[in-house]
């Protein structure tokens, strides 16, 4: 069972199924976010359905590119023999 699940995520032949399933999940999450009950909205963004999706995506993109910028342009990344 475990092997079949893992293979589903690894094998090339399931790529299209994987992609379809993934987008379906994304859509369902956004729809569900519009349906849930919001009573303890602390901040402005708590009242916006779909905010978490936008914020998650932006966070991801921001983290990737800010880090790579720091690594390549600000010189955090060095050759492996840097300390030798």
């Amino acid at each position: 069972m475990i092997k079949r699940v893992v293979d589903f995520f690894g094998d090339e032949e399931h790529a299209n199924q994987r992609r379809r399933l993934f987008y379906l999940v994304l859509v369902l999450i956004v729809i569900a976010d519009f349906l849930v009950h919001r009573e303890h909205a602390e901040y402005l963004w708590d009242r916006l359905p779909g905010w978490s999706a936008v914020y998650g995506f932006l966070s991801c993109v921001l983290l990737i590119f800010v880090s790579k910028f720091l690594g390549h342009r600000a010189g955090l990344m060095r050759r492996e023999d840097y300390y030798d």
Binding site: I2, K3, V5, V6, D7, F9, G10, F22, V25, L26, I29, V30, A32, D33, L35, V36, H37, R38, E42, Y43, G50, W51, S52, A53, V54, Y55, G56, F57, S59, C60, V61, L62, L63, I64, F65, V66, S67, K68, L70, G71, G75, L76, M77, R78, R79, E80, Y82, Y83
Partner: protein, 586 residues
Amino acid sequence: MTDFVHPALLFILGALPIPFLNGSIRKAYLLLIPALAILAVLTIQPGSYGATQFIGQEILIAKVDKLSIVFATVFTIMALIGTVYALHLPRPGQHVAAFVYVGSALGVVFAGDYLTLYLFWEGMAFASAYLVFAQGGRQAIAAGFRYLMVHITGGVVLLGGVILHGLSTDSLLFGPIAGEMGVGAYLILAGFMLNAAVPPLNAWLTDAYPEATVTGAVFMSAFTTKTAVYVLARAFPGTELLVWLGTAMALYGVVYAVLENDCRRLLAYHIVSQVGYMVAGVGIGTEMAVNGATSHAFAHILYKALLFMGAGAVIYVTGRRKLTELGGLYKTMPVTVALYMVGAFAISAFPFFSGFVTKSMVVAAAGQDHRALVVLALTMASAGTFLHTGLKLPYYMFFGTDRKLEAREPPRNMLVAMGMAAVLCIAIGVVPQPLYALLPYPVDFEPYTGVHVTESLGVLMFTALGFVIFLRALDPENTISIDTDWFYRKGARVFMWIAGKPLTRYEKTVSDVSETAALPFLHGAARAGLWIDLAGVDAIVNGVARAILNGGGTLRRLQTGVVTHYALAMIAGVIAATVVFAVVWR
């Protein structure tokens, strides 16, 4: 102390017979000790144990309350899991070190005074350093020395703080630092923050953990930073500084994880990030925040150990640790992949996994405390956590480019240990109430509300979307990243250069001058002195002595002792006197 068996004692004394046991007896014994310790913690009663006096100070070996029981519970459970994971090791050394390490961590957790705390604190540093040295090889030994140096420095800072604090408050009992923070309190805080890996004091962690042995790193990921969270929660709840340092930590670790190529160093940076949530929670200091920090430490120990066990299994089987050299292992290691992913979902705080019911408590506490910026930053760090430990690391380690590595599932005991941790990660996520019941304050928090579930899934799954779109940008690169260890690694080199170049040159110049000029002059002067001494002073002294000796000899000849000689001399004298008298008078 009849109704209380100190679990630290079980581990530290229990470590002594290990080298003398072999085979399955040793295995059974290794499992028995943590099992007994779990039992001891389960039956422990709150109270104070082992109060005594030492150098005029009150000492309290064990102070048991709810906060210490939570940490002791997860520490002993983790000791059992870690021991199972390490059960296949043929040599006893690492088992002994691990037991002393766990025992010392438990000693810190129950310590009722700063002296006891300090002793166990140093015990942890030395026992854990062994787990790095045991890996062998130049790199590991160098990292082990750096680790030891940093922790000894931290220990000295802590001891200095303890002494100053003790002098100003007249007590060494360990508890919340009340009132104005003095120099002593700040030094104690610095010592604690070093072990919690709060930047800029964090680099020892990401430097040493990836160099430790496969099984040693599992223990290390669980104990040092979490005892530090415990002592921070005990002594410094509500310290504003910790809120901001913790929040910065959460993002700091995530940023570095993007750049990292070594699989265990990536996970180590996520320890920094996750401990950031706990430090921030302690800093916020409300009942809910301290509960959140405590429960997150509990969950973190289990899922982080699971992740380290998964990465360790890959290193054990393939001998490789760089993401650029790994890939395509899912076919040969499906069980490892599945168990690793349980840990990944738990750290990412997916619903029905442990992180979801603990991490969100910290974030919710920040929200309740009206700290919008902290909430946003911690949520962003959550996205980063899933991005790296849930997507990037498993993708490049298990899927991605197939490097055609020869691999198989790791030994059974490793899989069993991973299974134990995985079961707990899911159990806590599905039924959080038993964990909530252990927490120091009553819990008024419901993780499974509709909006919380959809929001978490939204953040996580749209992070996954970003990952899918920008996958190529995340490709690991064959580099290392500069962290704050740069200062002491390069600093040590500057020190060695100063010792090697300017100091030696000065020393050589001085010795050259003394050899070419000063020494010959001194030699000449000494020779002249010797000549004067021999030819002048000695000659005079000897001459005088010889003259006196000769005079004495001559005089002695006059003293014959014969009466007729004396009579003759007297007659001669009288005649001479008469002659003189006659001549001179005239």
